[in-house]
Subunit: 251 residues, 2 copies
């Protein structure tokens, strides 16, 4: 049995700095590896390096916490300046207790702390924010890889989010270019001729989750290629993965 | 670049019937394929064939709907007998509207319709239920594969669940044997020497999601092997993936 899907971490991506040409760096690292990128690959990129390249970094030393941020910080035992940054990235607070703040980001994603994160950013007081427009970031990378390597790949930007009801983080898609993030099998029939009902699959999230197995936070493997996945090509947007508030029973 | 992870769908699994020795059928299908199973593989099995082998099938013709089931069925425009079966599998109704019922199953999983499903079951009025004890189902398969093939694999039983906040179903782990479903990196440091904080990863769910890319509902690929994933061996239980009610802000 030959592999139906292969997951390949691209080695040799250097530390990314604001202004870096991330597409070029990924292309170069991929070209130096034994098996270069191919058309039809799905290139999955960790949010952190995209945010770094786009300069989405903030030094908490430069942040003045509002009264509201100070109030929450006191309740949660956290840095008020960090809460200020989180609130600036937040459209709505979905839930909050003495430990965590679950937010709707300005993009519409529901996650802890509006995606603001201290890990894997150099400098004690520096934090990273999510890209302003992760779909655009994905499209930029896709376009740059096409220019440099003459290849047609899909790109997913991914971050690790928590979930309701289940423990543990999983990698999900926050930016998409070149594939439909949802696969809709409604109207098709199963092996027994019954029509399939609840059968819209979040394939971009499944692709992201698969690569999460290789993107360890402590290792420097922020780019993973999924090879062999036959996806529906399309413009695509991670916004398709966001459930509209009026259809969501858990806000 | 050689593949870090390979996903291989096992072909040739026949239609499963109550009482079938599923471990033997998987072993036989795997042995007939070009690359047989190896120790260290993670064997991911769709819930549906486990439920079939265990006889977790119900014919709605034999079901008498309670008044409560009839009431919900009328509101949702569904079959009262189906609602009766769903309610029998339900520990708590988490949310309900005119379209869907989100339940806590007797195992503690939160999902639509308590995991009761009409698709891929032969016969118009037959539905499948989740296995009674999916961890035990996984352990039984793991043990049977060890007996038959003299191999040490991990086994995950998977189903497709919806999520809060995000559209589309993803494959998640509902039964686990031989691996720790959560990977806890707390206390470890990142590349910059900062301690990692919110870093417990639901690797069993990421493994399940990865295989979801190959387990299409319309195709007969209910068993997918993940090869190359270095997991923490352990007894393991999918119950570790369930967030305790008192720690869950979304019930």
């Amino acid at each position: 049995m030959n592999a139906d899907l292969q997951l390949i971490a691209i080695r040799g991506i250097p530390e990314i700095r604001p202004g870096d040409d991330l597409g070029w760096m990924i292309a170069r690292a991929a070209e130096s590896s034994i098996t270069p990128l191919k058309s039809g690959d799905v290139v999955v990129v960790a949010q952190k390096i995209v945010s770094k390249a786009e300069g989405r970094l903030i030094n908490l030393e430069a942040v003045k916490a509002s009264e509201f941020a100070q109030e929450i910080a006191a309740k949660q035992g956290r840095d008020p300046r960090l809460l200020e940054v989180i609130l600036n990235e937040t459209a709505n607070i979905v839930r909050m207790d003495g430990h965590v703040m679950i937010t709707e980001t300005k993009h519409g994603f529901i996650c802890a702390n509006a995606g603001v994160d201290r890990s894997n950013v150099s400098g004690k007081d520096w934090v990273s924010l999510l890209p302003v427009a992760p779909d655009d970031s994905a499209l930029l990378l896709k376009t740059r890889l096409a220019e440099l390597l003459n290849l047609n790949v899909a790109v997913i930007i991914t971050d690790t989010f928590g979930r309701a009801w289940r423990e543990g983080l999983t990698n999900v898609a926050i930016g998409v270019a070149g594939l439909h993030p949802l696969q809709d099998l409604r109207g098709q029939t199963d092996d027994h001729g019954k029509e399939l009902s609840a059968t819209i699959f979040a394939v971009a999230d499944e692709l992201a989750a698969a690569t999460g197995l290789l993107m360890k936070k402590t290792a420097r493997l922020p780019v993973v290629v999924v090879r062999g996945y036959k996806f529906e090509r399309g413009e695509g947007s991670a916004k398709e993965l966001i459930r509209a508030k009026e259809r969501d029973l858990f806000r």
